[in-house]
Subunit: 529 residues, 2 copies
């Protein structure tokens, strides 16, 4: 057996070099090897195409009950679109009943509008081998989004910086099982708040060649994202293709605010994808029940997603669901518990009936450290994410402490688990090699399979090889210093960052991006709040 687990992780074997410059090798033999082994850094796997079915928790009766109730909410209670006269005018024009900022929708209006939204689309990456399918049987894993803090490689919890941001972009670029660079992988609080979107979007463009997300914190920042995409991809290409995916949270219950509506309008108008996501801590932003929460989510998504089609029919839009619950004792958010899993499974079914792609889940947890609590909560969430048939899974790596912290250690642990999810989704090989009847006949009763011809021919790609699990004997583990998984994760993370090589970027494009950023930054004063 040629190499040890350790070798494949820490040494620079030929296949462990970043492949961006060679274009499409990512789908070849190296990628298949990566898929089996957890991968060395830089070996990207294509997005997941699920060969297994989805798990469903609601039958037709339950689904149509929730749909009827959501229609009732839309018709009788309505949804507020705040501080946006254009939105209200568009809804009035489309036939909705608008009173103040409250929009009530005639039965069927939102569903009718959504018919122009694509069921499946491609989000293009600057490296075409990294482009991803959104929708259908595809699942795309993206890193954590939003934390103002990091837990760094010295174990310190502190505010995140642009340096951390770049590190997480680099790690996501190198991680075989992340198909997407994400968006706000952490909040670079050392950069002025009104300027940091430039640095974030630029980092995704420069340090990775995977697809990424745009800024949504103000309409003009969304415009900047579009302008930078035009420099990177060309203006015509951007107008006709999705090159950025953008997180539009509803202010649940039943409100879309000025900021989110503003960003949504910019992206939809430019044919870019919006992920319309009610952000739900059940019990606070929705009822304390699964069915009630699902009903509200469906109503909110119907209104928000349909609105994208009022802006530009055909613009890609996702049914998003962020579901957690709260402790009814302390009010604290809780993650990885059964009820939010049921919500997400149900929401996935509702999205399929609407024929638009679905986003939920990730590797969510409430723990302050990457301990067994963090892992249990993350595992419960990510296995649900895959089995539900989720198309886009934000927060799949690095999320700690209820999303307040991006953790380097947890990032590495999560990435390893994502590789296992991807392997699982491949399903079962029923070929003659898979059947292995020759092996069973060759070995016979009472012997072992280690040396048989079939094993020799197939062991290399037989089982997923975890990059971080320790399966050695107790004695060996003791001799090696009784390391916990987070210590191994830290060492692996350091070795990845040390071996990072940036994907090539056309110097003329790089220059143009930097010139745009400088000009725009110079036009505004620094703001820190």
């Amino acid at each position: 057996m040629e190499d040890s687990d350790t070798m494949s992780l820490t040494e620079s074997a030929p296949e462990a070099q970043p492949e961006a410059t060679s274009g499409r090798r990512g789908r070849g033999a190296a990628a298949r090897r990566a898929q089996r082994s957890g991968g060395g850094p830089g070996i990207s796997m294509p997005f997941i195409t699920r060969k297994l079915g989805v798990y469903e928790v609601l039958d037709e009766e339950g689904l149509s009950l929730i749909e009827r109730n959501a229609d009732k909410i839309l018709e009788e209670i309505g949804i507020e679109f705040r501080d946006d006269a254009e939105a209200l005018a568009l809804w009035r024009e489309a036939g909705a009943d608008v009173k103040g900022e409250r929009v009530r929708f005639p039965k069927g209006l939102c569903r009718e509008l959504l018919k122009t939204a694509p069921e499946v689309f491609t989000q293009h990456a600057r490296n075409p081998a990294r482009s991803v399918q959104i929708g259908g049987k595809a699942t795309v894993f993206a890193p954590v989004y939003g934390p103002p803090f990091v837990r760094d490689l010295d174990g310190e919890r502190r505010y995140a910086t642009i340096e951390d941001f770049r590190n997480f972009v680099k790690l996501a670029y190198m991680a075989p099982s992340l198909h997407h660079s994400g968006g706000t992988v952490c909040e670079p609080v050392d950069v002025p708040v009104n300027k940091r979107h430039f640095d974030m979007v630029y980092s995704h463009m420069k340090y990775s060649d995977k697809p990424f997300m745009g800024s949504v914190t103000a309409p003009e920042r969304a415009e900047d994202t579009i302008e930078m995409c035009k420099i990177l991809f060309g203006a015509d290409f951007v107008d006709q293709n999705c090159v950025t995916l953008n997180l539009i949270n509803a202010n649940s219950p039943m409100v879309f605010d000025e900021t989110m509506v503003g960003a949504l309008k910019v992206y939809a108008r430019n044919n870019q994808a919006c992920v319309v996501s009610p952000f739900i801590l059940a019990g606070a932003m929705s009822p304390v029940t699964v069915t009630g929460t699902l009903t509200q989510i469906l109503a909110e998504v119907l209104a928000g997603a349909a609105f994208t089609q009022l802006i530009r029919p055909g613009a890609p839009v996702l049914f998003g669901t962020f579901a957690a619950s709260i402790s009814m004792q302390s009010g604290a958010p809780t993650f990885g518990t059964p009820e939010p899993a049921l919500v997400s499974y149900g929401a996935a079914q509702l999205a399929r009936r609407l024929k638009i792609p679905f986003r939920t889940g990730g590797s969510l947890c409430g723990s302050k450290v990457p301990d067994a609590q963090a892992a249990h909560e993350s595992a419960s969430t990510i296995s649900m994410t895959l089995l539900a048939g989720t198309n886009f899974a934000l927060h799949s790596a690095g999320w700690l402490e209820g999303g307040l912290v991006s953790s380097y250690e947890k990032f590495m642990i999560d990435v390893d688990q994502l590789g296992m999810q991807q392997r699982f989704a491949e399903g079962i090989d029923l070929s003659e090699t898979g059947q292995a009847l020759d092996a069973i006949a060759e070995v016979g009763p009472g012997n072992h399979y280690l040396g048989c011809a079939h094993t020799q021919a197939n062991f290399q790609q037989a089982f997923y090889r975890s990059a971080l699990a320790d399966n050695n004997s107790y004695e060996q583990w003791l001799a090696e210093g009784e390391k916990r998984i987070e210590e191994r994760a830290r060492a692996l993370c350091r070795s990845w960052l040390d071996s990072y090589v940036a994907p090539e970027l056309d110097p003329a494009i790089d220059e143009a991006l930097l010139a745009y950023i400088t000009e725009r930054k110079d036009s505004m004063p620094d703001a820190f709040t």
Copy 2:
């Protein structure tokens, strides 16, 4: 809100008293509360009746391919029944082709024999409220089986003792989400090897009132188990009802040895349940592929399970599967990886087609400590266990280090997770309360649900309350000493053991059991190997 998470765990609230003496309260309001809250110690939940569907990984084509291939193994390669002339004679009589110890089965023989085995049966506990259904939509969680070591409450890894054994029986008795007392919860190596089965079986009978497993390490120890069961339940009752469930491992590939066949014969003859379980480390005891492994498992189970019906038609028998894989680099067993999960999902489907109950899974892991590796591997295994539709899940709590260690801390962490699995299996409440339309109307856009009437009426049972997860603020967690989950688990475990109260046992029965044990022990010398 009346009480804190902490209170419900550590104080002796009225509902936190063991309920054994009051008989059937376990299915009442206290049990429902336990189900939502993770439970205080001693509040038992009834076995799981799954309201959700199963997840399946093979279609008709795959299933019938595997069945055809397994038939071919049975017909052409055969299975060995070693050192047991009676077994060979019975097979010959039944129409099998017996050459030496190799038994080859005419097509369909094993399936035909298995038609007398029950699809669903009850394993009786001495407290009728604790009896469990085995088969159908029922899932029963039982603790870890077999470790010679413990990791104790001082963090020390050492050989297990009978004191540890009693402690784990007590903990399983007190754990709301364990429905079964299990068997060899750890190996009490301080008791002579030829006598420890008495102490083990007696501990289950004395310190718990949940159903339990019998000794399988020698036919005469199985006989002792039966005799003790007759004292506890009455001889007639034992002959007509299942009161013990017994683990019969195949020596994969394709061998049943003298010890296991001997124990199987004793239990089947006495109408007690056998769990016929190929113990598979794929790549060593089976081919390196999922389909090949499933094929061999099916062949082995068909032969072993059918044999129980030769002994006594109608004796309960389970389709068992213990599936792990090995590292093809070091040969070490690995747990919680994708391939064994696919094996177990597939085996569950094959068992349903055979119409006999199914055993697999648990909370398996290879980690040496209850860290994120342990949790990820355990979570992957236990969520598969439930979604596959497993009927009996051994190793559901306490398993550490590839089954070499029973861990007190991990036991508590696992038990908490089992409670979440049980809650999940309840599915979604579609009642008017579940729909919560009044709440949505009452709250309206932009407000919160914390104070609304529906929340006030329903929050108590709304969400699963973890006994161990910390969801407090970072600042509060810091102030409380930055505790990891295993520290909280240790404290909770101590408090459970301190508050243990034994279920009542008729003193005459207790005396008779002790007299039987004394007489039998006195009849043999101590043996330590």
